[in-house]
């Protein structure tokens, strides 16, 4: 049971949690700067497509991965133009971005359906992969998963130990105070938004480069929305985001495995699991009463001064 079911399940958990983790961290960075970006689903879709298209045409998965991130940044720019420059409503702009991103991805992606592109494949890390159980779970993955192990740490150091990270936090909490201290509040918001967009894009790229190597429409499958919910669950902290992302990765992997084994439970009910869990997770966070951890100026635009 352990060898044949649990260990492979946990290994699959890590893999399907990875894109969610990238996206969740990206959204945390965005929200730390005070911008609510509900376009994650659209950004991931678009990034998945761009990454796939680049990999398909150039054959270079690393370049494709970076391009996926940049696609996220470009999408974030649209959101920034609407909300930061034009002071549009952040909730609605995010929704529009999702509609647009998913639409673009399906429109541009239709000719690619069923095609395969080079991507990342799994390899074992020497020494570490021979640790009993843990080695199989964590160190027989693809390069992007390994890369993702480092990001939460870098993220934590960036937010707590660098001037820029603290400045971004200040802008999300109280842009007026940041501006009075001589910081360029609007510029910092842009940086958080675009940086976050890049990470979200990486999450999308993972879907088409490593999670699957075949193009299909609708790859994001609600993961973007799960990432938005996980930010609340994580209380805007990267450490808890890791836990949340792997939790969802686990549920998705579990559900796929059950379908593969062939149970009597209809697949539509199994597919509901991650979405139902998202609501449960939000209820759990609410009961723990940490919604107050949200950046105080989240979702509120900075009005220009005289």
């Amino acid at each position: 049971m352990l060898e044949s079911f649990i260990v492979p399940l946990l290994a699959a958990t890590v893999q399907s949690g990875t894109p969610i983790l990238y996206a969740t961290l990206g959204e945390i960075l965005t929200e730390k700067g005070g911008i609510l970006n509900l376009g994650v689903e659209g950004m991931m879709s678009m990034a998945a497509f761009v990454a796939f298209a680049v990999a398909y045409t150039t054959g270079n998965p690393w370049l494709a991965f970076i391009c996926g991130g940049l696609a996220g940044t470009v999408m974030a720019m649209l959101h920034g133009f609407v909300c930061i420059t034009c002071l549009g409503n952040q909730v609605v702009s995010g929704l529009a971005l999702t509609i647009l991103g998913v639409g673009l991805c399906n429109f541009l992606g239709t000719p690619f359906i069923g095609l395969a592109a080079p991507g990342f494949s799994k390899f074992a890390v020497p020494v570490l992969s021979s640790i009993p159980y843990l080695g199989k779970i964590f160190f027989r993955q693809d390069a992007l998963v390994y890369f993702c192990y480092f990001i939460p740490f870098i993220f934590m150091i960036f937010m707590n130990r660098t001037r820029l990270g603290i400045a971004i936090t200040a802008v999300g909490e109280k842009p007026g105070a940041a501006a009075a201290a001589g910081l360029k509040a609007v510029k910092l918001r842009w940086m958080a938004l675009l940086g976050g967009g890049f990470l979200i894009g990486l999450g999308g790229a993972y879907l088409s480069l490593a999670y699957t190597h075949l193009w299909a429409n609708g790859l994001a499958g609600g993961r973007g929305w799960i990432a938005v919910a996980l930010v609340i669950f994580a209380f805007w902290r990267p450490g808890r985001a890791v836990f949340g992302a792997y939790l969802f990765g686990g549920v998705m992997a579990f559900q796929l495995r059950l379908q593969a084994i062939g149970t009597h439970i209809p697949s539509s009910l199994l597919l509901m699991l991650p979405y139902a869990l998202t609501i449960l997770v939000l209820i759990f966070s609410a009961v723990r009463g940490r919604g107050g951890n949200a950046p105080s100026h989240l979702g509120i635009n900075i009005e220009p001064e005289g």
Partner: protein
């Protein structure tokens, strides 16, 4: 930056709203045309086919009117919630639940006469849709659970629930494996108006629109909703039951979307099947925002976006352009309107 800055207007720009919407439409059409070009299709021909499909023929106008019925009802509901700053993104799921509710009534009481069955279906659709909206409302009130995400997740769950039903317990044994319920009996089908393809759901739609308009404008409850939308603090000061109003607007919102689902199953497909879920609930959000939440403008923009959908279907048929083209346009229109709305309150001034 760039030598321009924003300056607040003393009075809002009164002609701004229509100009911005037209500008947004033109801009979005332009960008979409570019996309067509990128895909190696003729932009001019594409836009012509889009126009033909949207407004160029009587069948197109009729089709658009048919499609605007569910969109209008969903948007009317969504707008009511938005007015109170309750972000109900769940019209899609509430639509599904309404369809399920109506089907439940239609399948369980097939022998009832229409004048009894039809009200029962509408009632059950409103209850099912309203209930689906009540869940996020109560979660938001009691636990401060973010309703944007909960309504969205409930959309996914609702669609899967609908699939579960038509693939399972409600599946028509005579459907040769297709996931559909048995066809509704005569009493459960909303009929056509005269010889046209238009059905009586259209009248329901007009009634609902007028009703909501009058409700918001003339009743005290409507006024209370308007005030509560100005913020929780003002609501508290005016001693409004903010929580109850939240639940009320969500229930209204869900019930209207539920009706849309009911009409779509009963009048258009005459049975429940997954193909009714084509994203009207999301289009409704675009419509509500374009119309700045006003019932009359909602009617106009619902028709506009319905026409766009018909036009895109025409493009799909004639030029093999993916249906996603419609979402791109919707997203672009909404984003450009949002960006443009700044011009209502601000002037752009050259920096000195």
């Amino acid at each position: 930056m760039l030598g321009y800055r924003l300056q607040k207007r003393d009075e809002p720009w009164s002609w701004g709203a229509p100009i911005i919407v037209v500008g947004a439409l033109v801009l979005s059409l332009g960008i979409s045309a570019l996309l067509l070009k990128l895909q190696g299709k003729s932009a001019v021909e594409g836009l012509f086919v889009l126009w033909q499909g949207s407004f160029g023929a009587s069948w197109a106008l009729e089709d658009a009117l048919l499609k605007s019925i569910p969109i209008f009802l969903c948007a009317l509901g969504v707008a009511t919630a938005f007015r109170m700053q309750v972000w109900n993104i769940g019209a899609e799921g509430q639509f599904a639940l309404g369809a399920i509710g109506a089907t439940w009534a239609a399948l369980n009481f097939p022998d009832l006469p229409g004048y009894l069955l039809m009200p029962l279906m509408f009632f059950s659709a409103a209850v099912f849709g309203g209930f689906w909206a009540y869940i996020p409302a109560i979660l938001r009130l009691k636990l401060k659970v973010n309703e944007i995400i909960s309504t969205l997740m409930l959309n996914y769950i609702a669609i899967l629930l609908l699939e579960y039903l038509v693939f399972g317990v409600w599946k028509d044994p005579k459907s040769y494996g297709f996931p559909v319920t048995p066809e509704f009996t005569g009493g459960a089908v909303i009929g056509q108006i005269g010889d046209s393809r238009l059905h009586w759901g259209f009248v329901v739609c007009i009634g609902a629109g007028l009703g909501m308009w009058a409700f918001m404008r003339f009743t005290r409850l409507g006024f209370d909703i308007k005030v509560a939308g100005e913020g929780q603090r003002v609501a508290m000061y005016s001693r409004l039951p903010y929580g109850k109003l939240t639940i009320l607007v969500m229930a209204i919102s869900g019930a209207l979307a539920g009706w849309a689902g009911c009409i779509e199953t009963s009048a258009v497909v005459n049975r429940l099947q997954p193909s009714i879920m084509v994203g009207y609930g999301y289009t409704a959000i675009v419509v509500a925002w374009l119309a700045r939440l006003h019932p009359l403008y909602i009617a106009i923009s619902a028709y506009l976006l319905a026409a766009l959908r018909v036009g895109v279907e025409n493009m799909q048929l004639e030029l093999q352009i993916p249906a996603a083209f419609g979402s791109i346009m919707e997203g672009l229109i909404l984003m450009s309107v949002l960006a443009g709305q700044m011009l209502v309150t601000y002037k752009i001034r050259r920096k000195k």
